[in-house]
Amino acid sequence: MSARITASELAAAYQTPDGDTLPALGPVSFHVEAGSFVCLLGPSGCGKSTLIRLLAGLQRPSRGQALLDNHVIMQPSRRVGLMFQDANLMPWRTVLDNLTLPLEVAGVPKDERLAAARALLPALGLADFEAAYPGALSGGMAQRVALGRVLIQKPDALLLDEPFGALDAMTRERISLDLMDMWERQRQTVLMVTHDIHEAALLADRVLVFSRRPGRIAADIRVTLPRPRRLEDTYGAAFGQIAGQVRAAISRT
């Protein structure tokens, strides 16, 4: 299952300490088609994280609506999975218990949750680490656990806010390829914020580029490269052309 995400005239503002309102986002309108992978780029502070929070139902918009399929998003939903730049694991839980957390919260019986988590471990490259505590994991491994934790609840949509932004280049390339593999099998709807043009062009069906705060859509670039994609595709001319388009759109903001 996958869900269509819609932003309709969506805008957000914050209250400053002096009582002024600071427009942080939009208004923006766009659709993320069900089952598609969309990357979002934009200058820092343009409202990308705010958009993710609005779509996740963690925050109310000041104007407009966010919709999941045709339902207005009023509060967080299990159908939507969230991931941030920090893994945000619970240091007092083992890898396995961190993975099963969403199922535990949903009241899934223990043997089922353990089976689901153990089934995920190999694909995440964490097969030998189920009993490890987060403190013993590298940044990349911790982020893999976080990825597993969000996938285990079988969300219809994934909202990823710079999920690999804190990782070194090599780790992030590998983990983003793994994400792409898993997505190609499951086809959840994905909206991923990134600041990496290369990553966006490799993973996405579509790249949205936001303008400066309050962020609006400055460019909407279709990535027409065939799937399944492989890292080698990034050396081709077609890839280079799309990456160049994204780069140009960013430098215009």
């Binding site: 999975g81 240091p91 013993a136």
Partner: protein, 277 residues
């Protein structure tokens, strides 16, 4: 001082990480040196009494103190007073800690409550308990109740601060993640807030364990008819200095045992930290 002027609570545990396996000699010397310094203290004490610098009712010899200890242990007086104090300590600790946990949680969650309550709490904290202990005796009598109240009051503030700091320090991203999993309030409390705040709560408990002893003794000093504080007062009025020392040392042991229990509990509850974080 405002409660919110506190340092933004650390999400990392406050206590030091467990050291690696110490060198054999260091492990040995770590046990030996405290014994050695205790021995030196005893020796110094013995020498001072042997030189007869002071009369025996001011500084009695270690032997006289030991003799007194055996005497009051044998006739059951020590146990009577120690158990009376211990009951007051444990009840005061329980009442103070539970009240601080409940109120601290509420304050951590409500800015309004913090604004309303912090002047009262800060005023209460700034006044030494010893100063208003007589008032408590007037209100609650000279029995167990007033000792529990003094103990609870002295424990309350540090535990309250630690609770507020601990709950406010729960990472907001983790809160958001739990909301996105549609966790109930209760689930958020049990699966996130309690374990995340646990390191700070437990260091509060350790401080409270020793403070509770002070609280009970303060209560007994002001007015009581049993307990180690009462015994100290009584023995002093009779110039029975060995008994004063026995009672004081019993309090030392009691406080140390309570602290040790709290530390043991902390180590068990936070075992995950030793296994790498």
């Amino acid at each position: 001082m405002q409660l919110n002027a506190l340092p933004k609570s650390p999400t990392r545990p406050l206590t030091l990480p467990l050291a690696g396996r110490p060198h054999p000699f260091r492990r040995f010397s770590r046990r030996l040196i405290p014994l050695l310094s205790l021995g030196l203290l005893l020796l110094g004490w013995q020498v001072v009494t042997m030189l007869e610098l002071y009369p025996a009712f001011i500084i009695p010899s270690p032997a006289a103190v030991l003799e007194k200890a055996i005497e009051v242990t044998g006739d059951g007086r020590l146990w009577l007073h120690a158990s009376t104090t211990l009951a007051a300590v444990l009840s005061g600790l329980a009442v103070g800690v539970l009240a601080a946990l409940a109120l601290g949680y509420a304050i951590a969650k409500s800015v309004l409550l913090e604004t309303v309550l912090s002047p009262v709490i800060v005023a209460l904290q700034s006044t030494p308990v010893v100063a208003y202990a007589p008032l408590l005796i007037i209100w609650f009598g000279s029995g167990l109740t007033s000792k529990i109240v003094t103990g609870a009051l002295i424990v309350f503030f540090p535990m309250l601060i630690n609770t507020v700091v601990g709950i406010r320090g729960v990472p907001s991203d983790l809160r958001d993640l739990l909301r996105s999993m549609e966790a109930t309030r209760w689930q958020t409390f049990v699966k996130l807030e309690v374990p995340a705040a646990m390191p700070v709560l437990l260091s509060g408990l350790k401080i409270s364990a020793t403070l509770a002893v002070i609280g009970a003794v303060v209560g007994e000093f002001v007015s009581a008819n049993a307990g180690l504080g009462f015994l100290i007062n009584l023995a002093r009025s009779q110039y029975d200095t060995p008994l004063v020392i026995v009672a004081v040392l019993t309090l030392t042991v009691m406080a140390r045992l309570l602290y040790g229990t709290a530390t043991w509990f902390e180590r068990r509850a936070l075992a995950w930290r030793a296994r790498g974080r």
